[in-house]
Symmetry: C2
Subunit: 248 residues, 2 copies
DNA sequence: CGGGGGGTTGATCTCCTTCAATCAACGTGG
DNA sequence: CCACGTTGATTGAAGGAGATCAACCCCCCG
């Protein structure tokens, strides 16, 4: 832990680990130079709140490393996660003054932030940023719609299987691993966070995870380390159409 | 499959009722001229399918009048609506070859379609279109996230109240009516479509609509015509934070 | 008249929530 | 080093919200 923490984070775009996927992916070197002028890094510890819904938000930015969640909460405390932010994902909405959701770091988190108004100005001038942001937003919209099916129509067991599939898939994509039939990864979420994502209680999550384990769909080491011996089987449990659309 | 009785109607952008809200809202007159060259109108009757998920899609477009739905269906028939398309809403995704969802006309529908590759070419050349599309996509993403809270955490009664609130609100916005405390509108959806939107069964929808009526939250003339005597009361039933965010 | 689509209502069942006890891992202070 | 509190997780028992299955109504239309 301490070792990882002490790693110096590069502020140089040229060495940025998320350069090829983030909002700046399409930028030319002169555009990157302009971005460097308005950017700054921020670090958050696991559990810290990045911003509260309704708060004034004078920056937008990208997740460099770590994981954050976007959540909505009703007055009586019921909460629903509406987004899971992974490295390269974009945070904030250009043209909007205040945050629409709570953003919370679930692991230690590094963000590359841009001051909002210069960023908005750049969006107007250089189409590369707006183009990439449109692409990313359309992807997020697709993901949100996929999740609406999960929330509205799937059983608890299918919900868990769906979540595990998604994490496994993205893990494979980030680490450039081939989609082999057996997959291993660490759950970045607590049982409660999983429940908030899936519209369940944490007890139901716990029970269904245990059930999937008992049925041999997954194997567990500790609470968080998951092995999926047969990815097809998991996708089947998720109720997704066969292939699982291994899209980039 | 090919009995699609789409009728082409010529129409002038200058007189278009959705010009100020659609994807072309920001276009200058010369840009509109270019758009006119690649556009064509299509009409669909209530119940007709505009396109099936997975089908090749060689156009994108805007809803001019009428209402369409975006739905996802699992192999066993469970369906979830993931979008409700109203006049001025955009259909299709630039850069994607095939439809990701079923699009169905729930009322008689008129669409203004653009041939896909010329449209994509225009997006690259004229920033006004991409800018507006980004804005609209961000709005849709917000709406989708709002809906995730409804699907994941609200009770059946709250779900119905939420749907009615949304329809009432948008109706007020389209018809430029002041947000008076008493509102009247026609439900554009069958009970089954409401159920698909809300992740419920049609029986539960029916029961909860009746319950809201019995409790005086709404009044009904026939099955479809709804009167809301006190909008605040309805918003309260929906579990939304007080004001209901009367956004433009 | 018959039939079908849309809608309502009733009885029963079940999956998930709720409430509660227990456990393991971990850090902290006496 | 051990008692103690805390946090995350598991498991059990009981209850309820909504699903399921089924009957029936209304209205339009051929």
């Amino acid at each position: 832990m301490l070792n990882e923490r002490s790693i110096t984070v590069s502020q140089d775009c040229a060495e940025c680990p998320i350069r090829h996927r983030a909002v700046c992916a399409r930028c030319e070197s002169d555009e990157l130079e302009r971005l460097e002028e308005i950017k700054y890094y921020r670090k958050f510890e696991a559990g810290q709140t990045v911003i509260w819904s309704g708060d004034r938000m004078d920056f937008v930015g990208s997740v460099v490393s770590g994981i954050a969640t976007l959540t909505q909460t009703m007055e009586d405390g019921r909460t629903q996660m509406v987004g899971l932010l992974l490295p390269s994902d974009f945070v904030g909405r250009p043209g909007r003054a205040s945050a629409a959701y709570d953003v919370v770091a679930t692991t230690d988190l590094v963000m590359c932030c841009f001051r909002k108004s210069p960023f908005e100005e750049m969006m107007r001038q250089t189409p590369h940023i707006a183009q990439r942001l449109l692409e990313m937003t359309l992807d997020e919209l697709d993901a949100a719609r996929e999740w609406m099916l999960v929330l509205g129509r799937k059983t608890a067991r299918e919900k868990i299987a769906s979540l595990l599939s998604i994490i496994a898939r993205r893990d494979a994509s980030i680490n450039m691993r081939a989609a082999s039939s057996t997959v291993t990864f660490d759950l970045p979420l607590t049982r409660e966070a999983m429940a908030d994502y899936l519209g369940l209680t944490l007890e139901t999550v716990s029970r269904q995870v245990s059930a999937l384990k008992k049925d041999g769909v997954i194997e567990l080491e500790g609470k968080r380390h998951v092995t999926v011996p047969d990815m097809t089987r998991l996708l089947d449990e998720a109720g997704d159409d066969s292939d699982g659309g291994m899209f980039a």
